[in-house]
Symmetry: C2
Subunit: 400 residues, 2 copies
């Protein structure tokens, strides 16, 4: 008997770029090789203990749905959190989400219909690509170039990508995967373009506090564009707790918030325990995020300095998030990554990084590029970079 | 300056049917009136304490992403859970989801593209309507009739709704909102239709154990249709813990599972703490679900007997879930519900129920119907039914 066929979107959506390498990594570990995993944004730092204390202090014997607009005391904690950046919001301006991922999905659906277009910068955090396939929205890429330190291209180049179907511009700041920090000038220029063309700005500030230049800020302070900006956010990185699955979507645009609330009602709510657990962290946030920033800055220095010293490697100094992006003197970063985990080892150790090809929308870009997530301590990173250099030396298909 | 416009789907998606009555309910409570809330499926029963114990025993100081295919020990507990119903699954056949809601969304996207059609029975759990708008999929309703005790319509009637664009049939069993239990004959007929027309069957078994006739079962035992059936499930109702946000999607069709896994990777994972916390419940499930079923059966009897005794009320005896559906002798159930919470009270008490209009897709149906969720104890339900009868007596726009 014939089997029913799955949807085109089910076929077209891409697998996680690291997934195809998992079997090789598992094989390596079976062979007794220990793998330094620098491929995913899963922080190794400890979760502030106040979170677990608060979760364990949950007293009710019931575990009801949280309200779709969030548990009021949780929302009040977010209000206090944003206040430190000069952003005043009311409960009607915020909806908690299942991580930033869900906030992105809801924001895309709130601003764009099937076949509408959204401007993004590539290389791009891969989930945006998946969500665009799932929702039938087309992503139109503006390419940032390593050689230019990822500087914002000219207004003319950006405007040439805007069509009558364009609904929004996505800005990830600090950026995953480049580690770029958008300057105030760049942000103002993008907001001006959005206003000129009547577009939304989806501002993804998951890595807000992890920046190594200037103070943490929030795009919502651009009150000249109150109706344009939709903030998507997450507690995952700043408090090292991606397993909590809590983020939020914030906008002063009440039409957006009304649409997002209706979407959110269909899936009911965000975890009740985690909403309570996060209250002490959100209320006293700087105490937790300051040491995190200091730690990642040390790691950035280790990885950046090591990569810069490698012959033929082109690298840009990240000013935020915990990623660094490097072009390698190899034929193909995918082949090189596969080589590192299936053929190479040094003293029974090797390194796993992410090839960047799938972070691009434009075909043919990023083939020799990798992203390194510096989510291990400085000793492990120092050793990882040593292994990477030895791997590059041993790799047979180098290009220079 | 002009504001950017939200998407059509953001405009078109419906608000939760109970949401429009919330301000009236809050006003009633401000006036000192206590409201028996029978409008949402939020169980009042206690969560098995083993869940909280297991959550509190979480020892790591990290809270990493769970793997998208689930934490292996959590998946093993689901395997044991399904085994009691004669269903053997491997880890590749199951993916945990953020409640059944997310499982529904992922199942819809895995089987249907924009403008494709899915057959559903109305009245219908409202989230399906929202998800269809969000994903651009058209729901084609087959109407179940109170007067016929919601019996499955003829094969000819069902087949007349199938077009080349039809991709799946949704079966909620036991059913929300009707309380209907699908008979084995009905299920076999629907599976035969699905196979004949090469359709998927999305089986929503959130209320599996809450049934008052026959033993709990699982559609996946229909191994003659292994490639057709996609199960969507949840721990929310059977263990009284909707705030945990854990469900799953199960299918023997590996193309479906591959698509769903790729979708799931984009949003990363389901709550880490809850996946651990649920292990003892899933491993010894009957111990927790048997008393739950006994309690809801008592409540069903209280509510059903009271409604049946009310002049002019048409009601069908629910055989599962914890909902009962009633046609009232009123001009409009929405007006009546509004009357009950904004004008009527008895001894400073009143009752909140859900009008059913929004549970239909076909315009004009359900205008005089309500859904009652029997999520309070039998004393509260007895009193609620007394208030409902008094409200009906006092309501000025009765139809008989």
């Amino acid at each position: 008997m014939e089997s029913p066929k799955i949807s085109n979107r089910g076929n077209d959506v891409i697998a996680s770029p690291i997934r195809k390498f998992l079997p090789f990594m598992q094989d390596a570990e079976k062979r007794g090789i220990s793998v330094f995993k620098l491929n995913t944004g899963d922080p190794d730092l400890e979760v502030p203990s106040e979170f677990f204390k608060k979760v364990n202090a949950y007293e009710s014997k019931n575990l009801p749905y949280a309200p779709s607009p969030g548990i009021p005391v949780h929302i009040a904690a977010w209000q206090k959190y944003y206040k430190q950046f000069g952003v005043d919001i009311e409960p009607k301006h915020i909806i908690p989400t299942v991580g930033c991922a869900e906030a992105i999905l809801l924001a895309l659906m709130a601003v764009a219909d099937i076949d509408d277009e959204i401007l993004v910068f590539e290389p791009l955090y891969v989930s945006y690509k998946s969500f665009s396939v799932m929702t039938g929205i087309k992503l139109v890429p503006v390419t940032l170039k390593t050689a230019d330190d990822f500087v914002l291209p000219s207004m003319a180049e950006i405007e040439s990508k805007i069509s009558p179907k364009t609904k929004a511009i996505v800005i990830i700041n600090p950026d995953n995967p480049t580690g770029k920090l958008w300057s105030e000038d760049e942000l103002s220029s993008l907001i001006a373009i959005a206003q000129k063309h009547n577009l939304f700005v989806i501002a993804d500030e998951t890595y807000r506090e992890i920046r190594f230049q200037g103070a943490a800020s929030c795009l919502l302070t651009h009150t000249e564009a109150k109706d344009n900006i939709i903030l998507v956010d997450s507690v995952s990185k700043r408090y090292s707790m991606p397993g909590a699955r809590v983020g939020c979507l914030v906008s002063y645009n009440l039409e957006v918030m009304n649409a997002v609330l209706k979407f959110a009602q269909a899936r009911l709510s965000v975890g009740t325990l985690e909403q309570y657990g996060l209250i002490p962290l959100l209320e006293d946030s700087k105490k937790y995020t300051d040491p995190v920033k200091v730690e990642y800055e040390k790691r950035r220095d280790v990885v950046y300095n090591a990569l810069r010293a490698m012959p033929g490697v082109v690298v840009s100094r990240p000013l935020g998030a915990f990623y660094i992006y490097a072009a390698l003197p190899v034929d193909s970063a995918e082949n090189f990554v596969k080589f590192m985990i299936s053929e190479f080892s040094d003293n029974n150790q090797t390194v796993m990084v992410s090839p960047m090809k799938d972070f691009y929308i434009t075909e043919g870009l990023g083939t020799n590029e990798i992203r390194i997530a510096y989510v291990l301590n400085t000793d492990a990173l120092t050793r990882s970079m040593e292994i990477l250099q030895k791997g590059l030396n041993a790799y047979p298909r180098k290009t220079n």
